[in-house]
Amino acid sequence: MIDKRCHVAEALKDVSDGATVMIGGFGAVGQPDFLIDGLVEQGARDLVVVANNAGWSRETGIPRLFDLGRVRKIVCSFPKNSPAFDDLFRVGKIELEIVPQGTLAERIRAAGAGVPAFFTATGVGTQMAAGKEVREFGGKTYLMEEALHADLALVEAWCGDRWGNLSYRGSGRNFNPIMAMAARLTVAQVHETVDLGGIAPDEVVTPGLFVNHVVDINGVARHG
């Protein structure tokens, strides 16, 4: 029987130092803070974090990884409102790669979809074009952007089942479904575990083949 439900420690046991870790969420919504706390426990260091924001509240989530000195670099579109990040960045203790939000999303999706590179008009004529191939299609100028892969994706969903199917709540999808596609190992935290079929076929947003482990943050003890 396929059963992807497991405890957070089991889900994260093989994460290596130096891993590239995608972390879902936009603002405070859809952040897999339970899994990030698990990553703190697990102990991996020298991480490259890929996330839209550089964390939200200081006590948990990405800022906690920053404060513990676990992050070497962040790839990010909007690292504002994160004092933990600012503290490190101002003293040169963390590397920052700024990526326009849509380019970040498409680079992640491309990695999941087996597309190694694509062209976009975003960033043409700006600092973001530095070092990038520029090319015309139909008389308009575009930049070439490459796929962004990860070793690990930590995502937050609302419901999950033992095949790894996921559904989301509200604006909680954001980067989560595409990050789930782009990593070698995808771990999802869910608020509720349902039986197979509990998410209707039309309502599955992330099909289970993208997900390796499902961690129920309320009912971890439920499965056995």
């Binding site: 859809g30 909007f78 504002k80 920052l96 939000q101 595409i178």
Partner: protein, 222 residues
């Protein structure tokens, strides 16, 4: 003639809202642009897009409506109108980059007479650089309008010949709403459509770095 009274932010947002016709799909940047939604009449069917995966966004929630799992691009709680749809970031930026958004309204530091936009970084070292979705919106939406103060706090023009701050996009702005005027960006440069009562062309030009052209008729901005 009485002294010209600049519009306040609510009046600027209201002025932008008047130009948004029924049926448009509209993305509003953070700050004054977000306030534009409050000035679109309820009976005018305008559909608001938020880049974090919402189409059909409604106003801020009442305490009863509040859902912590539903925020806009500014991370503020919102509601959904009947007919709303939710999707992920790649689909959301496919809408933006693919030209499916009729209008994006953004704030700005500077707009050049060529339509170049600078709105993401002042390049000073004491701030964390952050671009968000501005570059994607500026190149992807069918039309991009800017709403901003006509000058900086210390009186420096924001409508310039060439942007001094790092660019967000080239030639993307078609209209600018300031606290003093409404200005179109055309091939010849800035064309003044409306000015606040009491403002003269000369006084406006004094607050503007690039050359201003007057439209055939310049309306009163209010």
């Amino acid at each position: 003639m009485a002294e010209a009274i600049p519009l306040d932010r609510a009046a600027m947002a209201a002025r932008v809202a008047r130009d948004i016709p029924e049926g448009w799909i509209v993305n509003l940047g953070v700050g004054v642009p977000t306030q534009v939604a409050d000035h679109v009449p309820l009976d005018r069917d305008v559909i608001f897009h938020s880049e974090n995966g919402i189409l059909g966004m409604g106003p801020a929630p009442t305490p009863e409506q509040f859902d912590p799992w539903l925020v806009n691009a500014g991370k503020k709680a919102v509601t959904l109108k009947p007919g709303a749809a939710l999707f992920h970031h790649a689909d959301s930026f496919a809408m933006i980059r693919g030209g499916h958004i009729d209008l994006c309204v953004l704030g700005a530091f500077e707009v050049a007479e060529t339509g170049d936009l600078a709105n993401w970084s002042t390049d000073s070292n004491d701030k964390t650089p952050a671009v968000g979705g501005a570059m994607d919106l500026a190149v992807g939406a069918k039309r991009v309008w800017v709403v901003m103060e006509h000058t900086t706090r210390d009186g420096r023009p924001r409508l310039v010949k060439t942007c001094s701050y790092p660019l967000t996009a080239l030639g993307s702005i078609s209209r600018i709403y300031t606290n003093l005027a409404v200005i179109d960006v055309e091939s010849k440069g800035f064309v003044v459509r409306e000015m606040i009562p009491g403002m003269t062309r000369e006084a406006l030009q004094n607050r503007t770095e690039a050359k201003l052209h007057l439209a055939a008729t310049t309306e009163r901005l209010s």
